[in-house]
Amino acid sequence: MIRYVIRRVALAFAVVAGVVILTFVISDVVPGDPAASWAGPHASAAQIARARQYLGLDQPLAVRIGKYFAGIVTGNWGTSIHTHRPVLSDIGTAAPATLELVIAALVIAILAGVPLGLAAARWPGRGLDHAIRVGSVLGVSMPVFWLALIFQLVFAQRLRLLPVAGQYDPNLVFSHPLTVRTQLPVIDSLISGNWAMLGSTLTHLILPALVVAAYPAGVIARMVRAQVLDTVGEAHVQMVRSLGFPERSVFGTFAMRLAWNPVAAVLALVFAYSLVNTFLVESIFDWPGLGSYAAASVSTLDTPAIVGVTLFVAAAYVAANLVVDLVQAALDPRIRLR
């Protein structure tokens, strides 16, 4: 097991190193001029040249990659061209909001996807199964940015059930100030007993989280259905059934237990998908996370910020995959020996 862990971790580091090189090469062929946008719209040629020197854009590619690598290891991810702040601290400020949104979305997706997948597998080929299958394909086919706009129009602007945008009601900051501990407003207001703020953060979270949950819910429902259908055919589940256990526990307990492993494997993938889907949803809901930051960086050709966010998300994805692999290897010895 230790050898497997070491090999797997080493491989993950090698992939992240490759990711750094790839993102740097991408950013280096930017056709626009980052030095010009750093210096501002009315800068003289000399000022732009000075900016280019300051940003290190006049050095050869290999030197810049070397410096970038060294910087990443020491926590210096460069300076954002549009916020003029260190990229890593920008990411640190934005990441918690995105994390809150993605976790809420995955919780909704699991709560919806698992029971739906189980129900579909219990009566395969019936009307309910078809409806759930269509529903899961619908979730996977949904353009999230469009769903975000429609939800906003229907639930916030027309029905006025939920707030349009933002993380909480800004007026509450004066009447019920939030003690910041974890950077996650929902958790912060919960642990400090700030109920007015908690209500506001939760109602603001519902719409964006539902939108981001559409894709993972579809994937999870599909996966659970397929896995459970596979498992109920196996001998030991048939045995449980023949011993007279009620169908409820045959499905809910025995078949589902074996289906968890592949569902866990899918979670890393849907986590990555949800993370990237927030890029399309956050700016619509004015959510102060990585997605809004990335969208702003794209429009200003902010190379260090784009490279930083890309690197951060890819590294998070590699880490999530690593964790899932290690957990699966711990549960199933056959995987370690491959």
């Binding site: 353009p143 129009l153 596979d230 794209v298 050709l301 890819a314």
Partner: protein
């Protein structure tokens, strides 16, 4: 499963196929309809000029009516005509993306699987690096550094899509390469390129066909998402993602600007996903894929 076998008998056969695979049949029919619309779009559009740069300021932002089924946009163009014309934009991008990704991905996969050794090692490690990015993210990074147009969009998505096919084909090719008939070919002195083309490639390609049909909807969604962010099609191209982005500013009062192009994306992606899903059930029932 049996549907395909009996469909040759006649009407009753196709009826049975429909009942056995209702999702596949529905998806297939909608997909066929979309392809048909794409082919005849210039003939059926009520206002063909509105698919391009035409402007009618006096008719701007009209609600849906008998003259303009989906209403008009901010410069007075007929949204219905533009949605119909959109069948020639993102679905076509998806088609080109998949052709490029297959050409690159399949060749590299076959080479890696058949030859093994150092070539395999290099190709698969590069593939690992590309697969470490969620697809939309890498396409976003590439699209940002390329000039914003449909060619760049196609290239950006294709660059992120090929590694999936490489990985898929490599496994198949490696198992085919070890089979006795391939060894027999080698013993007979048949050149490698001929073995690759005649034996390894045809025997490794089935899973790719299933995967391509499953990916079509996903590529359309990715293309529309990037256009929505302003990284793909530019006005006056009648791209659905771009139309949603342009309608966003007027959305609270003019709901039709965003609703109809978005519905077109949803219906198209849904049709091809149902089709791909059904095809997989029929051709390759043992595979469970999540992409």
């Amino acid at each position: 499963m049996s549907g395909i076998g009996v469909s040759g008998i006649g009407v009753s056969g196709s009826g049975r196929f429909l009942r056995a695979n209702p999702l596949l049949a529905t998806g297939g029919m909608i997909a066929l309809l979309i392809v048909l619309v794409a082919v005849v779009a210039p003939l059926v559009m009520p206002y063909p000029a509105d698919a391009g740069a035409a402007t009618h300021p006096e008719m701007a932002l009209q609600a849906p009516s008998a003259q303009h089924l989906f209403g008009t946009d901010q410069v007075g163009r007929d949204v219905f005509s533009r949605v119909l014309a959109g069948t020639r934009v993102s679905p076509l991008v998806a088609l080109f993306v998949l052709v490029i990704a297959c050409a690159v991905g399949i060749s590299l996969g076959v080479l890696a699987g058949y030859f093994g050794g150092i070539a395999d090692e290099i190709i698969m490690r590069v593939t690992d690096i590309f697969l470490a990015f969620p697809p939309l993210l890498l396409a976003l990074a590439f699209a940002t550094v390329l000039p914003a147009n449909l060619t760049s969009l196609t290239i950006a998505i294709a660059i992120t899509w090929w590694p999936w096919y490489t990985r898929l084909v490599r496994g198949q090719a490696a198992s085919v390469a070890g089979r006795p008939y391939v060894e027999a070919c080698r013993a007979l002195g048949i050149p490698s390129w001929r073995i690759l083309l005649r034996h390894v490639l045809p025997n490794s390609i089935t899973p790719v066909i299933v995967q391509v049909s499953l990916d079509f909807g996903g590529v359309i969604l990715t293309a529309c998402a990037l256009s929505f962010l302003g990284l793909g099609a530019q006005d006056p191209t009648p791209d659905w993602g771009l139309m949603v982005a342009e309608g966003q500013n007027y959305f609270t009062t003019q709901w039709w600007l965003v609703t109809f192009p978005g519905l077109a994306i949803l219906v198209t992606a849904l049709a091809f996903n149902l089709l791909g899903d059904g095809l997989r059930d029929v051709l390759d029932p043992r595979r469970v894929l999540i992409r």
